[in-house]
Symmetry: C2
Amino acid sequence: MPLDKASCQQLDREDPLAFCRERFELPDELIYLDGNSLGAMPSSMPRVMQQTLDSEWSGDLIQSWNKAGWAQLSQTLGDRVGRLVGADQDQIVVCDTTSANLYKAIRAACDMRPERNVILTELDNFPTDLYIIEGAMTGVAREMRREIVAQQDILDSLDDKVAILVLSHINYKTGEILPMLEITEAAHRVGALVIWDLSHSAGVLPIELDECEVDFAVGCTYKYLNAGPGAPAFIYVASRHIAQARQPLNGWWGHAEPFAFEDEFRPAGNISRFLCGTQPVLSLKGVACGLDSYAGVSMLQVREKSKGLCDLFIRLLGQECPDSRLQLIGPRCRERRGSQVSYRFEHGYALMQALIERGVVGDFRAPDLMRFGFSPLYIRYEDIWNAVQCLKICLQQKIWQQDKYHRRQPVT
Amino acid sequence: MPLDKASCQQLDREDPLAFCRERFELPDELIYLDGNSLGAMPSSMPRVMQQTLDSEWSGDLIQSWNKAGWAQLSQTLGDRVGRLVGADQDQIVVCDTTSANLYKAIRAACDMRPERNVILTELDNFPTDLYIIEGAMTGVAREMRREIVAQQDILDSLDDKVAILVLSHINYKTGEILPMLEITEAAHRVGALVIWDLSHSAGVLPIELDECEVDFAVGCTYKYLNAGPGAPAFIYVASRHIAQARQPLNGWWGHAEPFAFEDEFRPAGNISRFLCGTQPVLSLKGVACGLDSYAGVSMLQVREKSKGLCDLFIRLLGQECPDSRLQLIGPRCRERRGSQVSYRFEHGYALMQALIERGVVGDFRAPDLMRFGFSPLYIRYEDIWNAVQCLKICLQQKIWQQDKYHRRQPVT
């Protein structure tokens, strides 16, 4: 039986997470399917920011480092991120960028496997991860080699030359989830360490870093965690590794006693040794607001809704646009798919521009990939219906034939 | 003739920068002499932040990377910082932390002097700079040595083994200005490169990076530039070096085409190659507001007032507290002093706590250093009078004998 708008609205009425939408500010009429690039703004943000500006920065000035807890934000927020990704406390700090944190993790891990020379990764890893591997390798005292393999060859490529395996938990193009437990165990069997990039998975599905015995992880807070544009990233180091893990960006915030102003660097005994310089407090406040949005929400509920939204989009696209020539990319099995759905389409750029103009915001990755991300805390089933109706009209009108949709934006 | 309060008020009436104070939010009754740790909040900040939250983040969401110019902020703000530090455009980006930027500069510079093994610095360099030298050295392919000498021995220690000289432009303890031109020329004569840390000088005195032919510089925006707690730092690379300068934190934002998502890293042809990951936009807005506060102000005026404020503090302390046992540290010559005055005092910690309780905020560095920083855009001559009167009363009462002023704060 074909689905209709009413049945989508019924799904919303039955949605146990429906109440979360009001925790975000979203423009009326906009259907925002790009929360995997930049999450929506938590409604608490203006109030929290006003307090930060009025009472903390301009009111208490320098004293806010103690009085308002600024000095501990990287750690307190890190522990809170930990609760969403299955990490016990004192293993995560929120700081710097995902790229910089990956750099630290790679350098630390390389030193922990001094007899091995290979950093293994996969073709579809997010490009900055590939670049950072290159950059970090230049700082390792021995000759290192970056080995890039296809996803299906990861397990077969693990051997006793592999020092580190660096992978994205969810493929940013296809939305495919890599099996964290299976891969981590396989890497450990050959004595390699694993670094997971959680940028596209943190906050959108249950993750069990401790249970999977992951060694290091990094991730982004401005996507599904809704922390705001460019908000600081996070880094996880398993507690069993912290005492041996040394990273070279050893600035004063990573010192055992930052304000003792000693001449020699002595790393903090805990995860704080992965800090470097003073963190951007205003942007850290966004991380706090983003995490607040998860109050009373279980990651199992988030995951259930995420699968429901993706399934509905795929089903409705098939039902409403049967001859669309949009080719679904990535896993068909809902258990292996993250919270995005990707399609290849030769006129993808122009079509996405047309959708954006009509208030349906997804994103496009060259050469022909259309991505639709579904943030379960604020996307409604009815939004999916409306998005597909808009897509249907654009397809019927062959909207990509219009010149104006071919003008390139510098960044999307 | 002794000075009195009325003569200080007269100085304020004659102050060509008096109008700038209203560009900042400062609590009534507070005398804030710690702008060298955290600058005051520009009055424009709440409005700018509200617009950023309402119209950019929550309104236009992902499109703000183009529409609101987020994607170019590191460069546009970098050019604006450049105008305050004597750097022509396309040589500065605002990003990351001072520590991380110093790391990049050191790694880049080491590769540009492959036949040399010494990184020279001085004892009183800010500790994180010393730590970062240690950390960065571990990533250089050859054996490097960190040589720490006393300030007066810098010039004599320059020889053809020195790859890089890393110095703070202003000593964070004593406030002494190091002669940038003379030292840079001396380093160049032996073929060394120079990296200046401008954390305590940017925004408070004229700096001529280009004219001095400085090679690299880094600096902080949250002190005299009033950009907000932990706001992103900056890095300067002289245009003649950019094509050869490679840094290992080569994330996607430093790529020639970040959104081409290529597998191999190709550095941007310009200063953007010193970027790494996505920058914290909310905190970058603070940098914009901080720089706005300099509209219509010349750095010569700022410098004149800075000298006037420091002179007045020293003179009034001598006049009002002649037997104080506070020992002035650092240069007596006003031309060699930055915008802070430091005193050693054995009860310095307790005395500073007592001053803070009474609304005169300076800071303290162990074991016995009291620092008073004077931010010329918002400190009045009358504030200096009132601060010294407060200090006088605390000294007369031997206030440090009270237990409560000895309780240590974790961070000051």
